[in-house]
Structure formats: structure tokens, C-alpha cells
Subunit: 164 residues, 2 copies
DNA sequence: CTAGTACTTGGAGTCGACTCCAAGTCAAGG
DNA sequence: CCTTGACTTGGAGTCGACTCCAAGTACTAG
């Protein structure tokens, strides 16, 4: 069998877009398994490892704390998650969290769009990520009082003008 | 005019789901304007303030650092953002960031689904939040080697099996 | 042999975002 | 009048996630 290509820590750091220090740190806190070393002690990475680290980077982007990433690595590794029912549960939970987070983000996007579109009245597109909100198709809403807030969509209904 | 209802810090903390300390902290770092006080010095909040704080909480959920939230409050306040071209620019930028973040999240969701659906082949539903990704409708992909990684979607294409 | 570079390690420092605390004020109840 | 409870303040402490550093080793080129 031909040898897989291997990479230095510097290379994969650059490739993935995180610092070498961060990668070493992940290893230090055992978020990543100890990487193989060359004879001189330098770390060697292969595609498999890169994929794993990339997954971490991806999860990080979603705001997940490092401590919660471990289970994902277990899954990422190679296994069939069905072998670990607890883990499946965990994954499902996290999936829900992420969906909620997407909804949050979408609300912010909506908020921004609303602010950017002040007066334009261009409210029709498809954006129903969350089923929780999407209250009234209320067009020209006024600044803050819209229902862009999670968990209280419908009940935010102000009365008078904003102070002024 | 009848008085708007007002609330204590404890009430709104509970309502919004963050700690009183956090609210005071936001005020301390001037992320929030100094709240009005009663004669005894206690903070009073009205709906308007609650909306603002709720916006912060919402932005926080999206992983935005506190320092970046200021512009949103300026917008939230009452103004027409068109009055502040820089701010509009900032909003647009952030909108893009969020869209990207949603894509990241969606990838994680896809990853989870993929892991959960191992062998199930149930790939059809409607989830196209981001227009950036949605690469191939590639069904039964193998564990890690999938293109669930942001920024390198198409180019991560492994050849051999995952080590084993 | 020396210089340069690419790594290694353990540990210290930083930064953001809280979180906790002690001391103080005020209002109401017994 | 004294206690209790809800708040105030400034400041200290914590925690997660890095980020930086000094000292050491290994290889490479001149």
C-alpha cells in the first residue's frame, strides 16, 4: 500500500485556518487524541486527522464549547453512532439546539433586513426557519417592537412611541 | 397619558432569562445605557428597555461578542439606519456573517443527520437555509469525508478508507 | 562548527464575559 | 427601633479559550 500523504502542524493549521497553538492546545486538553510523532518528535497529521480538526473548527463556528465537542469526535472517528445510544441522544439534543440557534440567527437576519428595508416594503420572501415565530406577517413594523425576540414572539407589543 | 408599566431588574432578568448581574454588567460596560432609577436608586425598566435587552440576548445567542453589539442598539433605539451609512455597511456585513454562520450550523445539522441516518437513506426534506452551500445532494456519503466543512466544501474529497 | 529554521514542552499571561462578594441604602412589617 | 428583603455599588474572582514565551532538540545549508 502506498503511504498516505502527511502534514506538519503548520500546514494543517494554515489549511484549516486556526493557529498551531490552538491545535496543540486541543491536544493538551485531550479534545484531540495525541497526534503521532515523527522520530524527531514532531507531530504528523494525515487526512483523517485533518477532517477531525476541521470538524472541531466547524463546531466551534457554531459556538459550541470545547467540552461539548468530544462526543462528536467519537462519532466522527469511524463508528456507527447506533452503537452508542446515549450519544445518539446527545446528537439529537444538539441537533435541536442548533436548529434553535439557526432560528435565532434567522431572527437577527430578519431584524437586519427589517432595519435595512425601512420604508421599502419588500416583505415576502421565503424564510421560515423557525416554526416558533413567524407571528404576524405584519409589514411595516416599527423599530424595536417587532417580534424578533425568541420565546416571546407574540407578546411583545408596545403601545406608545419610543419615548420621543 | 397613562403610565407605562415598569419592571424591576429582577423581573426582567427572569423574563428574558439572563442574570441580574449580567444586566448590570452590560450597563457597567456601557453596552446598555444607564437605566433610569427610582428615588431609592433602584433601576426601573419599561417595555422599550426590555426589548433592547432582549435583542442583546438574541444577538448573544448568535455568538456575537458584546463589543459588536453596540451598532445594533443604535439601530434598535429608534433611528432610521439610512441616516448612518457606516452602520448600514456594518449591518450588511454582519448579515453576511450570520448567513455564513447559518450555513455552518446547517452543515453540522447535516453532519448529525448523516450520522443518525446511517443506512437509512432519507434525504429529501426541505432545509435550504443558506444559498451558499447545498452542494451536491450526495446521498450515502461515508463518515467524515463528507463535504460538511465550510469554506472547503467541494475540495475535501478523500480517497482511501478512514485508516482502518 | 555555526546559524537558521521548525518544531517540541510546560507554564504563564491575556481577554471576554460573566459571577460573586462585602458594604451600604431604603422601605415595610412586627 | 430592629430586622428582613430588595436593591445599590465597586471591585475581586472565575472560567473558557486561547496566546505567548523560554528553553530545548533536530535537521539543513554554508
Amino acid at each position: 500500500m502506498r503511504e498516505e500523504p502527511t502534514f506538519t502542524i503548520k500546514q494543517i493549521a494554515k489549511q484549516i485556518g486556526i493557529s498551531e497553538d490552538t491545535i496543540r492546545y486541543y491536544e493538551k486538553i485531550a479534545l484531540l487524541p495525541r497526534a503521532d510523532r515523527k522520530d524527531n518528535g514532531h507531530r504528523v497529521y494525515r487526512q483523517e486527522d485533518i477532517d477531525t480538526i476541521r470538524l472541531l473548527a466547524c463546531l466551534k463556528k457554531t459556538g459550541m464549547p470545547l467540552a461539548e465537542m468530544q462526543p462528536f469526535l467519537a462519532v466522527s472517528a469511524d463508528a456507527d453512532p447506533a452503537d452508542y445510544p446515549e450519544l445518539v441522544e446527545h446528537l439529537r439534543n444538539h441537533r435541536e439546539n442548533i436548529i434553535a440557534q439557526i432560528a435565532s440567527l434567522q431572527e437577527v437576519v430578519d431584524f437586519i433586513d427589517m432595519k435595512l428595508d425601512v420604508g421599502k416594503i419588500r416583505r415576502d420572501c421565503s424564510d421560515d426557519v423557525s416554526e416558533a415565530m413567524t407571528g404576524e406577517p405584519n409589514p411595516n413594523v416599527s423599530p424595536v417592537e417587532m417580534a424578533f425576540f425568541p420565546g416571546s414572539a407574540a407578546r411583545v407589543r408596545k403601545s406608545p412611541a419610543t419615548g420621543k
